[in-house]
């Protein structure tokens, strides 16, 4: 057997009391496509950050081509031939493509020469890019191209990709796989981080599986099924949810008619002529790649941003387009935004204060402008019990909770009020499988009891599992909602990429 390209042994990384990596071994052979699998929070990102010199291991060794190496900073990793494509891109919106590339190169090189080399590399790999464009003008797919091209310009021996398809349409992902095949054909190794099992089976010949910061298995993913890989990742059987067979026929609860809203952020995407109907007992899924107007849609439906005309949004037949978020709450609507910390909850405030964030308008926690602390605490206790929120003290600060537990709290805070309409964005983003299952079940139960539930999500599998009908948001326009039964992943994927 030849010398491994990269051989990490016994890597340990602690953050305070949390052991993010617990004696992790990883061996990547030259030219190999190696998958790093695991749930959110399993320690994948921590591991690759150590391999890229961004974090320093507390213990363990890294060897490159058989020689022990020390990686104090990314520059050292790049010098060895390690390139990295980040999950949340490391790009600068107000700088040009060429400047973004220059920032990732270690040798000082005049920007015009970089632009020329950039054009050459992007042509060779079929990844077209305009060097002079500012990044904020580019689509998500184009942004990822910058990340890949600037890695390739350093002629890497190992390319690390952290969840590269989480922001791409299925068709864009397919394009990425073709590029990766070409990169591998040149003898470069790929370390591919994902929790999408089908992709891993399509691309990789080796997989290392992490759970709770430990390596639990090494396997050839092509010899496994998606189900067996999932069992190794989660550690138990994954129960599949089933939505009702036939779409419900209840009365329309939420109706949107011809709604157009400009984006708040000058670089953002607004809404163009959106129409939809949502019935009692129904779960409507809004699919789409991030950055296609999801934020504007949530803001308009919740009332954080008012619609141009009142009759563009009807709640139980009443025109509420010009009513603010609390007026809509008083009419029985509830909302869960995408960002847990900072939007749904204030990180440094106690959970009881955070109960008040959405609860002050319509739940008896406030009388004559005075707070009823007893009721606020009672609400925290009720949510804790109903949603199995795990926390130390009775009323900790929001930032002290893990992602999954805080998400259970912010979803539970709304679901417990039995709202007639629930609008929820990315209900299980970055949440462990246990919490995700509990949250999805709660949303389905809510719909079964007669509420209308609108789920905005980039996770197509989640929508296919939960929704009765799915509509696709692209460049601020919403396709007609269609019953899930008649839809395929491919059909939705095409719409997510803008094809009719």
């Amino acid at each position: 057997m030849s010398t491994p390209l990269l051989d990490a042994t016994g890597l340990v990384k602690r953050f305070g009391a949390l052991v993010a990596n617990d004696h992790v071994d990883l061996r990547v052979m030259p030219g190999e496509a190696h998958a790093l699998l695991g749930e959110n929070g399993a320690g994948k990102s921590t591991l690759v950050k150590m391999l890229y010199g961004l974090l320093q291991p507390d213990a363990g060794h890294i060897a490159w081509e058989g020689r022990p190496v020390h990686l104090p900073e990314p520059r050292a990793a790049r010098r060895l031939g390690i390139g990295m494509v980040f999950q949340h891109f490391s790009l600068f919106d107000n700088l040009t493509v060429a400047e973004n590339v220059a920032l990732a190169l270690d040798a000082a090189e005049p920007v015009p020469r970089i632009a020329a080399r950039l054009a050459e590399v992007s042509r060779a790999y079929g990844l077209p890019l305009e060097p002079g464009r500012e990044v904020w003008r580019l689509s998500v797919g184009e942004r990822q191209r910058i990340e890949i091209v600037r890695c390739l310009m350093q002629d890497p021996r190992l390319l690390i990709l952290d969840e590269p398809t989480s922001v791409l349409t299925p068709q864009e992902s397919e394009g990425l796989f073709v590029t990766l095949d070409r990169i591998r054909a040149e003898g470069r190794a790929v370390l591919y981080i994902s929790h999408k099992l089908e992709e891993v089976r399509r691309l990789c010949e080796t997989a290392t599986i992490l759970r709770h910061g430990r390596v639990v298995a090494r396997t050839d993913p092509r010899a496994e099924t998606a189900g067996s890989l999932a069992r190794m990742m989660v550690g138990s059987e994954v129960a599949a949810l089933r939505h009702a067979a036939a779409p419900p026929e209840g009365p329309v609860r939420l109706s949107v008619r011809g709604l157009s809203v400009a984006a708040e952020d000058p670089h953002g995407v607004g809404l163009k002529d959106i129409s939809l109907d949502l019935r009692r007992g129904e779960v409507l899924g809004i699919a789409g790649v991030a950055g296609n107007g999801q934020e504007a849609l949530f803001a308009a439906l919740s009332g954080e941003v008012l619609a141009p005309r009142a009759e563009q949004i009807l709640l139980d037949g009443d025109a509420v387009g010009r009513a603010d978020i609390n007026a809509r709450r008083r009419k029985g609507a509830a909302f869960v935004p995408e960002e847990r910390l900072g939007h749904a909850a204030a990180p440094r405030l106690a959970l009881s204060d955070n109960a008040l964030v959405s609860g002050h308008a319509a739940s008896g926690m406030v009388r004559h402008g005075m707070l009823d602390r007893g009721r606020m605490l009672g609400w925290v206790d009720a949510v804790t019990q109903a949603f199995d929120v795990r926390k130390g003290p009775r009323d900790p600060e929001a930032r002290a909770l893990s992602g999954g537990n805080l998400q259970k709290f912010v979803v539970g805070r709304e679901v417990l009020r039995k709202p007639g309409l629930l609008v929820v964005s990315q209900p299980t983003w970055g949440v462990d499988a246990g919490a995700a299952g509990l949250i999805r079940l709660a949303l389905l139960d809510l719909a079964r009891e007669g509420s209308a539930v609108l789920v905005i999500s980039q996770d197509l599998d989640e929508l296919l599992e939960m929704a009765d009908r799915i509509a696709v948001l692209f460049h601020g326009r919403l396709s007609p909602a269609e019953p899930v039964a008649g839809l395929t992943r491919e059909a939705i994927g095409l719409r997510m990429g803008g094809a009719a």
């Binding site: 953050f15 305070g16 320093q56 020390h70 104090p72 919740s302 009332g303 954080e304 603010d324 978020i325 609390n326 709450r329 909302f335 935004p337 960002e339 900072g342 939007h343 749904a344 909850a345 204030a346 990180p347 440094r348 405030l349 204060d353 955070n354 008040l356 964030v357 959405s358 002050h360 308008a361 406030v366 402008g369 005075m370 707070l371 130390g392 900790p396 600060e397 930032r399 002290a400």
Partner: protein, 358 residues
Amino acid sequence: MRRLVLERRMETPWALTLASPLLAVGLTLVSAVLVFLAMGRDPLEALFVYFVMPVSDLWGLQEVAVKATPLVLIAVGLALCYRSNNWNIGAEGQFLMGAMAGGWLAVATHGMGAGAWVLPAMLAMGALGGALFALIPALLKTRFGANEILTSLMLVYVAELLLDWLVRGPWRDPQGFNMPQTVVFAPEATIPLLMEGGRLNLGTPIMLLVVVLVALMVARTLKGFEITLVGEAPRAARFAGFDAKRLTWTVFAIAGGLAGLAGVLEAAGTVRMLQPGLSPGYGFTAIIVAFLGRLNPVGCLVAGVFLAITFIGGENAQIMMQMPLDVTRVFQGLLLFYVLGCDTLLLYRVRWVRRAEA
């Protein structure tokens, strides 16, 4: 080689929130000793003059209360601003504006033998004048997005120059030997003293009442929660349906109103006239008071008393030890540095670690 590393805390122990300002005060005292030594003074004597003498007799205690009154009044309002991320640093101007608005009534009714209504009316005018003046930066911020730090500060200079013009021009005391000052306010336009043999006046109980009211508002009302939430997490505040712009108006008006009230109390209670040097920088020192008090009304009360002691201590040191008054400002600046630095302990665990060998 070693270096400083910050580790985020998941939870702040409550004892630390109390210990952090005390630690800052302690560090300031240590620094003060070093400064005194550097200046060739006996540090023990200097510390005694600065921090002990002001509180060693009844007259001194009264002076402390008199100085603490404007500091605390202003700081409590500023605390509301800073809690909600509104950086009003123009309280000095709002203080002077309040003094001028209230003082106008005293000057206009002087010698007319007006009734007991004058004093309450002066206080109301003072609060109103300060509030309206504070609403200028609020308006410029919400309407045009102009940076309130710069606009509120620029208005301090404008208010100072306006006062200067008034007391040298239209409001100058005709019998004042051309001194730049107004007439000495008539008894009905003067805040009543609380006891003989001192300057303690009704302003101090008013200040204590304000502290209680604002403390209640912060801790127990929805409006107080709104102020806190807007500062802690602006997007969550919008999600809660709170209007950040309207809140900017509210907190600027309250802070300006309290600063204006402090101004008229100072003019009608302590100084009894308008003159250019009406404020020894109360509006700026109150910024330190607000932070030292952890933006909490009761904390501001404690911090205000402490800063008042340094004010008087500084004056004593100038008289008794020929120490420049600016030394007090140096201590105040240092204190704010230490307060901010110690606050880091609340959010982060600070550690020295050995730099990884490169």
